[in-house]
Subunit: 333 residues, 2 copies
Amino acid sequence: MIKTPYLLFLGDAPDQLSAKVAQGIYDWRPENAVGQFRLPSCGHDLGIADMTLAEGQAAGAKTLVIGVANRGGLISQAWKEVLIEALNMGYDLASGLHNLLEDEVDLVAAAAANGAALHDVRIASEDYPIASGKKRTGKRVLAIGTDCSAGKMYTALALDKSMQAKGMKSTFRATGQTGILITGSGVPLDAVVADFMAGAVEQLTPDNDADHWDIIEGQGSLFHISYSGVTLALVHGGQPDALIICHEPTRTHMRGLPDYQLPSMQQLIDTALPLARFGNPECQVVGISVNTQHMSEDEAVAYLAKVEAEFGLPTVDPFRHGAERLADALAEL
Amino acid sequence: MIKTPYLLFLGDAPDQLSAKVAQGIYDWRPENAVGQFRLPSCGHDLGIADMTLAEGQAAGAKTLVIGVANRGGLISQAWKEVLIEALNMGYDLASGLHNLLEDEVDLVAAAAANGAALHDVRIASEDYPIASGKKRTGKRVLAIGTDCSAGKMYTALALDKSMQAKGMKSTFRATGQTGILITGSGVPLDAVVADFMAGAVEQLTPDNDADHWDIIEGQGSLFHISYSGVTLALVHGGQPDALIICHEPTRTHMRGLPDYQLPSMQQLIDTALPLARFGNPECQVVGISVNTQHMSEDEAVAYLAKVEAEFGLPTVDPFRHGAERLADALAEL
């Protein structure tokens, strides 16, 4: 668990894309962010108060979160001064960079001297159990994609927001670096040792109230050659009651795999549902989430209507139109 | 790579079951075993020459392999004297125990002093790449099971033996601890970090002659809640041209999962083949391997005939009748 709220460190982020972790935290958990800390050369503004480390601390911040990705995922010397000062003031640090905080001797020393925690969310810091497959109480929904990076995290977070707005009981369960930083906890599933993947997902989504929904962030795709094993561990460890299909219709090939075409949504359903029903015979596909960012509004609306007619399932782009209809579908289950 | 040949350390193994790693090495790679080393209290005999450490070394042994599993996978003090003496004489050590050689300070010190290697095949000692999905030359066959421990390793090793006997080009590719100790190399797939599972399988089964077969040891089952992700990484990383279905018909539930019935062989085929064909459109199910150890010879023969008629595929128990018909099926592809 990473202590919240955060002060968001944007460093020298040149643009919004490089600050997408900070942006994600602010978009989805504004209550977790008291302000932003920017170096003079920073070219992006989250639209939240600029604060010094002292001001952030006065506003209650417990952790300085590195909300920026630079080339190569490195921790630059320009950042070091600020990070060490923060540790000396009593902040914890959290990061999703490839370059680990715990590999930087000066940061490790400063953290030790101050009793501060260094959270590298890219590595698995816990021991997880082997999955037991035991039926758990409460309900679970999992976003699964025809490809990686098809909008699964966005869909899950938007669904959580819509369910909360409707007064439903729900918890977003992060399984990747950005999701973990947004919410302060979760499992970095792609960094877990193979034997324990499904067990980590079980532990992440424990027994709960009968009317409570865990909204499990998906990873990879059952058809993505590089990461499909991670996805299947989510399907089996998560024992979902509901699946939401995520699709990006303009892709010309699987992400990172130029020789592979995307599977169709029907192919994904035909493959995923029997596997999911082995773990939970009640599992159903309840809706479709389409990432239409590369379509015009007219194209998007037409495409969503076509898919909805074809599959007979609520089909939305949660970024354009919200996830209310997906929340409704879960409420009806 | 573990240096061969081995001297097989049976320690104080009370029976054949506890010495099954040593037995597996001797059964499948007798040329890798110059002899056995037994403590006075050992209750099993491989039927190979008893040797002292000096005699083993004179016979060419390079590595002392711990071929015994004791309760809890521990390295007992009774073994330590022998292991340290072996290191001092210039042997490497190899082990698949949970209790790692590299966690024993006296062994680590003796190895360092003698320039000897400690091989813990239960941990992944290499960095593996992310899978690329690129089509590789040569052919690959993967054993997949309706459950864990259904005879996949045995089937793969028997198939390798039959193919070698027929003069076909084949290599058994180990993906588990016992297989790695038997052959001296492989990938301990269940110990690999999630993101790199499929990449490790790609690396294990590289480009090869057009008429060469990699026989990939299977792990887990696509329907085993705890380990299915490992299995899917084999299906996608291995890009198999051929699948062999492995089944143990007397199981009353999935191994370690008392609440789960086994899937049918047809269910497994229906699920595995579309996933495998995504990675290799030519993939076919070529045969069925049944573990009939809990059936009489008559029951076994009748069951094999029934399955063969039902699926129209060569169906054998390689332990009872050899794997020649599976090798024939691959030769015909």
